[in-house]
Symmetry: none
Subunit: 229 residues, 2 copies
Amino acid sequence: MKQPRLLLVEDDPALAELLEFRFQAEGYTVLSTPDGDEALLLAAEEAPDLVLLDWMIEGTSGIEVCRRLRRDKATAHVPIIMLTARGAEDDMIRGLETGADDYITKPFSPRELIARVSAIMRRIRPALAGEQITVGDLTLDATAHKVTRKGTILALGPTEFRLLKFFMEHPGRVFSRGQLLDAVWGTDSDIELRTVDVHIRRLRKGIELEGAVDPVRTVRSAGYALEAV
Amino acid sequence: MKQPRLLLVEDDPALAELLEFRFQAEGYTVLSTPDGDEALLLAAEEAPDLVLLDWMIEGTSGIEVCRRLRRDKATAHVPIIMLTARGAEDDMIRGLETGADDYITKPFSPRELIARVSAIMRRIRPALAGEQITVGDLTLDATAHKVTRKGTILALGPTEFRLLKFFMEHPGRVFSRGQLLDAVWGTDSDIELRTVDVHIRRLRKGIELEGAVDPVRTVRSAGYALEAV
DNA sequence: AATGATCGTCACATACATGTCACAAAAGGC
DNA sequence: GCCTTTTGTGACATGTATGTGACGATCATT
């Protein structure tokens, strides 16, 4: 699964830099330009997965960029999030009419924007992410929502499935209970750390198989890891 | 891999102490000050990896500290999380404009704050979590939490692991028992110096291997060092 | 309303790691 | 060589982390 690509069109250098920084930290490849015309070029050539479009930009106006992106077949399907100033309700409405998928009013917190972008990406990219992951004798098919071990189909609960998937995306790596809560339950969940233990147990039970060793490794005082057995 | 360093600027002593305690427990080195001007000094001299900045502090105001941190080249890149009172939306917005990376409104749960900080740390310093260290015939993988010697996987207890890791980050260098306590156990631990000896012994036992010499050197009346055999 | 699946939490059992001590062994100083 | 200081080592009580079964709550389905 390749890195998601993001086109940022924003002419406030400080804000642009901040967002660039934050999104790169989130694992996005960020293309950035303050200029509307250049944005159209970049969109055509670089095929971003998502566009963040400021309303007030140099060159071609935001709404015009939005319109043209929608008109060009190559970019017609790309999700667009508009960044508008507070109170510019009319602009916002016109933006949505023109084909933007979402908007956010300034000032906004980077976290909120990132949350919205991730939400859209999750919605957009399942097809892209629909590959199989294989670690050791385990195979996980995200789209089919199925796990097999040595060919045997395993029955896992939803949480165990997500937990295993996360482990399989980072095989061999040790994660603390806190990290696992962040990754599998969500950053803002308010769950006991020990709950992770219980789900680890359920996962172990779910993937156990005659004549196969437990691939889940306990690292005392550190967390758990999935071994590429 | 050195410990992540965190600068806490908070003038409520109770909250400061609580956060200090919790973050130290998470493995952070915490520098703490209630004063804005001192915070700037500390930031310049101690090069923290992340700054937690309360809005209402003595001396220079929070936003001013934020601005100056961003202006100084040495600290311009350091992530800043602002702590604001609930309802101070305007302050929050100005903080973000000034270059803060995130904010959290009081009251907040320490766990939530820790989660956000770790999320940022993980993204900012991937190298922190990323690599293998090799010294002589020893190889340590911090992410997988594994040590091998000549290919053989070694089983070490948590403390021995941290001790070895510290040694491997400074190969050949001699450390006193006190220094080792600070580095491996934490600055504020209240442990007998001789305890280090015992763990050195356990480390030696843990990494011993047929046909290989002991790489841990005792320097009489000075301390211990790890030799690049 | 009833069923069943899943979830988060708890209590208890177990396994392991820890810090300290007492004594043995070794290393210097003279 | 003798004495003092420093380090090595095994044992032990204690504390801490993890494994595990059970329970009530919640939610979707019927």
